[in-house]
Symmetry: C2
Subunit: 259 residues, 2 copies
DNA sequence: TCAAAAGTGTTGTGTATACACCCATGT
DNA sequence: ACATGGGTGTATACACAACACTTTTGA
């Protein structure tokens, strides 16, 4: 595969980005995957990503790839929360050549049709529940496409696991949960994000107090209220506030057996 | 476009590692710097680092460079705490060519003679107080070497600032502080680490309780006691325990205006 | 009238902070 | 004796978990 490349200079490194893009859909954490069209790992699922171009930083490349592979509008992509996870540099992580990959984590709200319509690679993309994507060889049920659940390409299973862990931790001490929500959301929706990512139930009154007591976490939308699926009392709407960190943190219940 | 590995589609990237190695000396946080011998930035100070070799991961390269530039024994280097910070990939961060650098943070105990004796690049290395290294253009006092304090090479000032911030945060929710201490240490020494890195005073009785109440943070060395510089009551000695995370965290006082 | 979801109140338990106090050692 | 640093005790404030309760909507 490296034929045609100049063999006399030092061995070239390729630098790529890989993206772990998460969303919360239907009460489950989903990750954006792409079915590979070429070898190696043709036909298997992989994290979206691609090469860093000569005049790009890794961050720029990540946003460009994200736009190409989700079909989102450029201004939406520019505003997304995108964060470096870590860099994966094992010499054998790609069977053909030396590829060092900078992995990123992105959090997006649930989109009407996640990765359809737009040209480019978007038609090969799909939202996959992380439980399904992370389980190697355990294909869950007959309804799901073949390939998902039978292992991700390259070291992407490791990257996904690292990213998932990072997202869980981030919710504890940052205000990032609102990145999973639409521009205006109810506290019930925000709580559902926490419960989905952490896979734990939270006490609603205490969650509510905690969020409202943290200055700048959320801001009330003055007169607005939303009918939550028809049933129940309409809930007040909130917007993300200016704060970015949570002091003191909002710890998940399972963690920290204090005694 | 994204999935294709066209070898002609990209220019070669060089991949390097940069190391922010910290220690606590004489009540101040110090970082290991190297005076550059070659252009660009010849004569100015820089973080130690170097190229990732064709068959190395970034982690392996970081440990190798650390051993070469500090003259430490290989087994000591192998046991050190080394952690990926992030990757710096701005296209213009190196004036000569495209260099992507994976930055690492390392925490080491105070060493008798930090970077002397051993061959290689160790004789160009020096421990520098971070306040001195971080201040661009502020040369502190006539006793210090010229060059330190007049700005670091490349984007190393940014890397150093990021690393310093990370170390401060790490002390809050991990047991890493003991990495700055000798194999056996007193609680006073451990507290001094926190106070030095955070630049705040801590209440000794409360700090003591907090550390001892966290299972696995430290383990008492049975019969031992050390005379702390001669003055005062001899202090009990402790070893690092098996725990790695701190639940609940040990927050620095300045952070988190709770109200 | 009932179910469902939002929102408020109260109370016990634990952790943190601030500070007072005692102990052992060198000068 | 006294300064210095190690170690213990305790009262107060604050934060959190648990749970009972009220409110507003659709069916």
């Amino acid at each position: 595969m490296t034929a045609g490349y100049d063999p006399h200079a030092f061995e070239p490194f390729a630098v790529t980005v890989d993206l772990a893009v998460f969303t919360v859909r239907a009460g489950a954490l989903h990750v954006l995957l792409i079915r590979r069209g070429q070898e190696p790992y043709a036909g298997t699922w992989a994290l979206p990503g691609g090469f860093v171009l000569p005049r790009e930083s890794a961050e720029t490349a990540a946003r460009r790839e994200l736009a190409e592979e989700t079909g989102l509008a450029p201004d939406v992509v520019a505003a997304l929360h995108l964060e470096q996870l870590r860099t994966y540099s094992d010499p054998d992580r790609d069977p053909r050549m030396r590829v060092v990959s900078v992995a990123f984590t992105a959090l997006v709200p649930d989109m009407p049709e996640p990765a359809a319509g737009g040209g480019g690679d978007a038609d090969r993309a799909r939202w996959v529940p992380v439980g399904e994507a992370a389980a190697p060889g355990a294909d869950p049920g007959p309804g799901s496409d073949p390939g998902v659940g039978s292992g991700l390409a390259f070291d992407h299973a490791v990257i996904l696991a690292d990213a998932r862990e990072r997202v869980g931790s981030k919710l504890e001490y940052t205000c990032l949960a609102s990145a999973f929500c639409p521009p205006e959301f109810t506290l019930g929706e925000l709580q559902a994000v926490y419960e989905t990512v952490w896979d734990t139930a939270l006490d609603r009154p205490n969650f509510r107090r905690k969020v409202l007591a943290t200055p700048g976490f959320v801001e009330a939308v003055p007169g607005a209220a939303r009918l939550t699926g028809g049933r129940g009392k309409p809930a007040a709407l909130y917007r993300p506030g200016p704060a970015t960190t949570l002091h003191p943190p909002l710890l998940r219940p399972s963690e920290g057996p204090t005694r």
